[in-house]
């Protein structure tokens, strides 16, 4: 399984990287972790003429937290760094959980958070929690930056809003609201190295009383070409006091919204059932965690 021939660049600064991206355009691919890209190249699904390896660009990496503002995560940050970050674990727990479930120890040390969104697999682990947490992405080219909510960046299976010459450089997550919590769950054939049959993230914000739902996001993965943000679950729960009956109604609604396909990993019917199970479980877990804050 040889790769096609390509020219290799390893820029050291954001300016050099973006200049190369601008000059080489669609003939180039960005090499971050390589855990998806090199496999697609081995399978001849991609044959880039140039690879721009961004691993030497320090400015594209790291997690920086500003109290009251939120956290900025460089697109080149390794999944293992996200998994072990104390700030991510304490304030953006669903992302911490998803990072810990991605691939294997080896894959987590190689793969990056930016790559996981740019690869735009419908079954990717980190986009659902990022969307649930209100993440925006920073898209850069040589002349400047633009920002998009992550749900508008991922357009479909392997499709993103990146134009030629652009690179995803950062994720911006707002400071979590008081009395809020987020959780992630998935179902797959095994724990490591599987591709999720269904995954899901929930973010709940409670009112001062600690019982009424002020805001809620439920995002499903692997049941639609891109992360599916539930419209019906917030409509059922926001402004209401949390109770078992509403959770049942919400779980059914989420299951109805899912648009899964049948494939080698699961049937559409099974996926719809699992959506209801995960929704019920996650809503309860997340509510309990938000109450405890």
């Amino acid at each position: 399984m040889y790769l096609n021939h390509f020219e290799y660049f390893a820029p050291k600064t954001p300016g050099e990287a973006l200049d190369l991206a601008g000059r080489l355009g669609n003939k180039a691919k960005v090499l971050a972790g390589g855990t998806d890209l090199l496999i697609m190249m081995k399978e001849k699904l991609l044959k880039p003429e140039y690879l721009i390896d961004i691993n030497e660009v320090k400015e594209f990496k790291g997690i920086s937290y500003e109290p009251g503002e939120g956290v900025v995560i460089g697109a080149g940050t390794k999944i293992s760094e996200i998994e072990t970050s104390v700030i991510i674990r304490e304030k953006y727990h669903a992302l911490h959980q998803a990072a810990g479930e991605l691939g294997s120890a080896q894959v987590r040390h190689m793969a990056t958070i930016g790559g996981n969104s740019c690869h735009a697999s419908p079954a990717a682990e980190t986009p659902p929690p990022l969307v649930a947490l209100g993440a925006k992405v920073v898209i850069s080219n040589i002349s400047g930056d633009r920002e998009l909510p992550l749900e508008e960046f991922i357009l479909g299976n392997r499709a993103t809003a990146l134009a030629a010459g652009e690179m995803l450089t950062k994720f911006i997550l707002p400071e979590p609201a008081p009395k809020s919590a987020s959780r992630y769950a998935y179902i797959g054939l095994r724990d490591a190295m599987e591709i999720d049959a269904v995954n899901m993230a929930v973010n709940i914000v409670l009112e001062e009383d600690g019982r009424t739902i002020k805001d809620l996001r439920l995002v499903m993965g692997s049941v639609s070409p891109r992360p599916l943000v539930s419209a019906e679950v917030p409509a059922i729960l926001v402004g209401r006091q949390f109770n078992g009956e509403l959770v049942e109604k919400a779980a059914k609604a989420a299951s109805g919204e899912a648009k899964p396909i049948s494939d080698i990993r699961a049937s559409a019917e099974y996926r719809r059932e699992v959506v209801a199970v995960l929704a019920r479980r996650l809503l309860k877990e997340t509510y309990a965690a938000a109450k405890g804050v």
């Binding site: 040889y2 021939h5 390589g34 855990t35 080896q106 724990d191």
Partner: protein, 162 residues
């Protein structure tokens, strides 16, 4: 394509190697450097047989470009034993616990275990299983492997070995 001369530091020794940008680290280590302890299994990053340590972290050498490893410290299974040939405590423990059957997954298992123990010197059984979940053994020998890693963690902690 023109070959480029790169320097790779493997097990503390620097090798000057002509590579094509598309050359994979596993092939360079095995064919150009001649260290065949690193195994090539699935070639897709799924099985863990090709695991090497790069700056201490476990990495899949079958989906890593050799040219991207310049200036980094690469450790292969050949780099674990001491200069006098005495085995690293993890290797010794694999031998003592019968954690090796056909041996194909063993280099990757041991290097992944080393990275785990470097970070978490006394892992629980579940933490060991989770740590080596990306290394597949087709002889179904996980029980002895987990026992070997657990015993190695005790020896290494007691002796203060890295």
């Amino acid at each position: 394509m023109v070959k480029q001369l790169i320097e790779l530091e493997i097990n503390g020794r620097v090798y000057e190697i002509p590579v094509d940008p598309r050359d994979l680290l596993v092939d360079v280590i095995r064919k150009k450097v001649g260290l065949t302890g690193t195994k090539k299994g699935c070639g897709q990053g799924d099985c863990g047989a090709c695991t090497v340590l790069i700056n201490g972290a476990p990495v899949l050498s079958c989906i890593t470009l050799a040219i991207a490893c310049q200036g980094k410290k690469i450790t292969t299974i050949e780099g674990l034993a001491a200069a006098d040939g005495s085995l690293h405590p993890i290797q010794q423990s694999f031998v003592e616990h019968g954690a090796v059957q056909c041996g194909f997954c063993t280099p990757g298992m041991i290097l992944t275990s080393k990275a785990l123990l470097d970070k978490n010197p006394r892992p629980s059984e579940d933490e060991i299983k989770r740590g080596i979940a990306g290394n597949i053994c087709r002889c179904t020998g996980y029980k002895k492997i987990v026992e070997a890693v657990s015993a190695a963690s005790e020896t290494m902690t007691a002796e203060g070995v890295k």
